[in-house]
């Protein structure tokens, strides 16, 4: 079955780099799909990753029309360096200057799980390097030097940061709670300010009790905020640690403000 090739700006999957452990019909059908996709798109090679599959499988179409199947390929024993203009199906219509090894050795397995190896130079070496990088979840973008990357990024409509699987939001539900806390504290400040102009003893006592209740409410809201925010923070796992730091900091600052206000009210009202 011909599969759709993942292209920019769809972020590549974060599931990749899985070595094939069981050589069964699933792998055979994966390889068949890859071959059909190569034919349908007139490509020279394809990795399973490019059609959204996690397994480390590379299929290369040879000049004579036959296919080379590489399962769990590993690249080593490199020699020399060469920079060429490369194209890849992930970035349709684009190309970039990439520096690669001139020659490489590759060990891999065939569909029966037999260990094999090959050596490659020139274009074939470059192709193998690009495809094996895909099995580690990477396009050639990561291989570009600084200047070339800057040049290449200009050609990308959405920049190169689209591939982050989960970005950390900047607005949270918990911020509403924080808003309530802040409003309550502003009310406390106003009440404190008004108290300077009130001389009636009874009114001051009432004001002090309002102040004390508001302070208690703010304290409780802070506690709720602290725990709810952590619950919310854990939903975005890729940035939990900095969020927790943020939450602790916010709570400490809020409680510090409250303590100051409360002390000032206690002493002044």
């Amino acid at each position: 079955m011909v599969k759709e090739i993942v292209t920019y700006p769809t972020p590549p999957s974060t599931e990749y780099s899985t070595d094939v452990r069981v050589f069964d019909e699933n792998i055979v059908s994966l390889i068949d799909n890859m071959k059909e996709t190569i034919e349908a798109n007139n490509l020279d090679a394809l990795t399973a990753f490019q059609i959204g599959n996690q397994f480390n499988v590379v299929v290369i179409k040879e000049d004579n029309g036959s296919y080379l199947e590489l399962i769990n390929p590993r690249l080593f024993s490199t020699k020399g360096q060469v920079t060429t203009e490369e194209k890849t199906a992930y970035f349709p219509g684009l190309s970039a200057k990439v520096t690669r090894h001139e020659s490489v050795s590759v060990v891999y397995q065939d569909r029966e799980g037999n260990d094999l190896s090959l050596k490659a130079t020139g274009d074939r070496s470059i192709l193998l390097q690009r495809k094996i990088d895909y099995t580690f979840g990477s396009t050639y973008l990561q291989k570009l030097d600084k200047d070339e990357k800057a040049r290449f990024e200009l050609k990308l409509e959405y920049g190169s940061n689209i591939a982050v699987s989960e970005s950390c939001p900047t607005v949270f539900q918990r911020d509403k709670l924080l808003k309530v806390i802040n409003v309550a504290m502003i009310a406390m400040v106003i009440l404190l300010f008004i108290s300077f102009f009130v001389s009636d003893e009874n009114a001051l006592v009432t004001m002090w009790s309002y102040q004390a209740y508001t302070a208690l409410a703010v304290l409780i809201l802070n506690i709720i905020y602290f725990f709810y925010a952590q619950y919310e923070g854990k939903k975005y796992t890729s940035c939990t640690s900095c969020q927790i730091g943020n939450i602790i900091g916010t709570t400490v600052i809020s409680l510090f403000k409250l303590t100051l206000l409360f002390l000032a009210s206690y002493l002044l009202i």
């Binding site: 452990r21 590993r74 080593f76 024993s77 050795s105 190896s117 580690f136 990561q142 796992t237 890729s238």
Partner: protein, 489 residues
């Protein structure tokens, strides 16, 4: 009164012993048997190895710390275990040979109710011809595995830098000295610290620095690689490591089993069976690890070493050692309680437990030589395991012999690692990485076997600061200063 004997005072043994002493109080006895008078914060040996720290800064005397903590300290190495006691006594005991305290060479039988084997590894230099003899480092290369080795390495490195300053081009080769090494991370840190120091000395253009390792790809680190959130992409540690090596001008050889070391030259075999040679003027090659060679005897005095120890000399624990081929490996093969299946009062932690199988894909050359990293059991996991084992034993002593055991499987455990890539307050760098779980769980997390949300890394100056703070924090903890128990593993 019960007695817990801890064999080994490294990261995991020390953690286990100190927590056990804290939890058991003075009603019970904790004995630590370790051949070294000093405790060593091994991760900082890297900085000793480049002359940025002294040996004294990464070590301290154990005796006064143990005296304060109420732990009996025997500076001795364990020779054998008699888990069934001997004729005339059912009390299990361990035979130790003193290496200090003025009793060098004398042996003693230390009886125990519970024993933890935390002896760490034997640095098996002898496994590679020319790398050394037995556990002794050879003359051709250096090592950073112990503080003494690291000090020697720094001395040799200084000589090489002097030669470069005198206009002599030098070849530096760093990596692993055998096809079945672990601890690639230490070599990774060392090569970048060397590169950093050489650049600082202004002779970077006189040095050819090269990496050689048994990993099948750069950035495997013995855990089959991990994901790094780098440059906006969630890329594999392979891509990350390759760009770091390229950026620092360090070429690499991977998939290599170093099979012979001579003066100024190593010989190696590659994954495709080809042989190669590499010359060097300065080389640090990590040795493979083996068990320390403890023996075990039953009540009748018959050798039962092979019953309780795996062939590599590590203690068998509650792991599935019969998993067989790669396709059958499961996260559940990994031990969780670290209890010996034959003797319920015997536990292991840190490097001393026998892992069921590697984490990285096993590979061998067409000549049949296995080339691939063995699983790391160092750093954070070894501390966590040490604490869990101590907890289990304390519960059994305090709450009864049926108390449930605490679990700390590396398949359910995350680890954080900060790998230094150069020391300096403002120009230092380190790669901070987290990985969850350490052992991939292919059933739970299809694909990489790991939770990508918890597996990530970054490189930068902040990482270096964290690494430096951790150095002080863990030494503080190990010295049992106030609040030590609050500091995580």
């Amino acid at each position: 009164m019960a007695r817990l004997v801890v064999l080994g005072g490294g990261v995991s043994g020390h953690t286990a012993a100190t927590f056990a002493a804290k939890w058991l109080g003075s009603q019970h006895e904790v004995v630590v048997v370790t051949p070294n008078a000093k405790w060593n914060w091994i991760p900082s040996n890297i900085w000793v190895g480049v002359g940025q720290m002294s040996k004294e800064e990464v070590t301290f005397d154990l005796a006064p710390v143990y005296a304060d903590a109420g732990i009996t300290f025997k500076q001795a190495k364990a020779l054998s275990l008699n888990p069934e006691g001997k004729e005339g006594s059912d009390k299990p005991f361990v035979t130790v040979e003193f290496t200090g305290e003025g009793k060098e060479g004398t042996t003693e039988e230390v009886e125990y109710d519970y024993v933890i084997n935390a002896t760490g590894p034997k640095l098996n230099f002898g496994a590679t011809e020319g790398l050394g003899v037995g556990s002794n480092l050879g003359e051709h290369t250096v090592s950073v595995c112990t503080a003494d080795h690291a000090e020697h390495a720094a001395h040799e490195l200084a000589k090489v830098i002097e030669k470069m300053k005198a206009g002599e081009r030098q070849k530096i080769l760093i990596g692993t000295g055998h096809g079945l090494c672990t601890c690639q991370g230490a070599a990774f840190e060392y090569i970048f610290n060397i590169e950093h120091e050489i650049a600082k000395a202004g002779v970077r253009d006189m040095a050819d620095i090269k990496w050689i390792s048994n990993e099948s790809f750069l950035g495997d680190f013995g855990v089959g690689g991990l994901h790094m959130k780098s440059m906006g992409f969630a890329v594999s540690s392979k891509i990350f490591a390759e760009s770091l090596f390229t950026e620092r001008g360090i070429p690499w050889i991977v998939g290599a089993h170093v099979n012979k070391v001579e003066s100024g030259k190593v010989h190696y075999e590659l994954l495709d069976g080809e042989m190669g040679e590499e010359e060097f003027d300065f080389s640090m090659l990590i040795p493979p690890f083996a068990g320390v060679g403890l023996k075990a005897y039953n009540k009748a005095g018959e050798d039962i070493t092979s019953d309780i120890f795996a062939p590599n000399g590590f203690l068998k624990v509650d792991a599935n050692y019969g998993a067989g081929a790669y396709e059958n490996w499961k996260a559940s093969d990994w031990p969780s309680t670290y209890q010996n299946p034959t003797y319920s009062n015997m536990f292991a932690c840190g490097i001393a437990f026998a892992p069921p199988h590697p984490i990285s894909k096993p590979m061998k050359s067409p000549n049949g030589t296995p080339i691939g990293p063995t699983p790391p059991r160092t750093g954070m996991p070894s501390g966590i395991i040490g604490k869990a084992v101590a907890h289990s034993i304390c519960d059994r002593i305090l709450k009864g012999a049926d108390a449930p055991l605490h679990e700390a499987s590396m398949a359910n455990m995350g680890a954080a690692c900060v790998a230094s890539a150069g020391k300096g307050l403002f120009d230092g760098t380190a790669a901070a990485m987290t990985i969850y779980p350490v052992v991939p769980n292919f059933d739970k997390y299809p694909g990489t076997g790991r939770d990508v949300d918890y597996t990530f890394g970054e490189i930068g100056l902040a990482g270096h600061w964290i690494k430096h703070i951790l150095h002080h924090l863990f030494l503080y903890k190990a010295k049992l200063k106030p609040g030590w128990a609050l500091i995580p593993e």
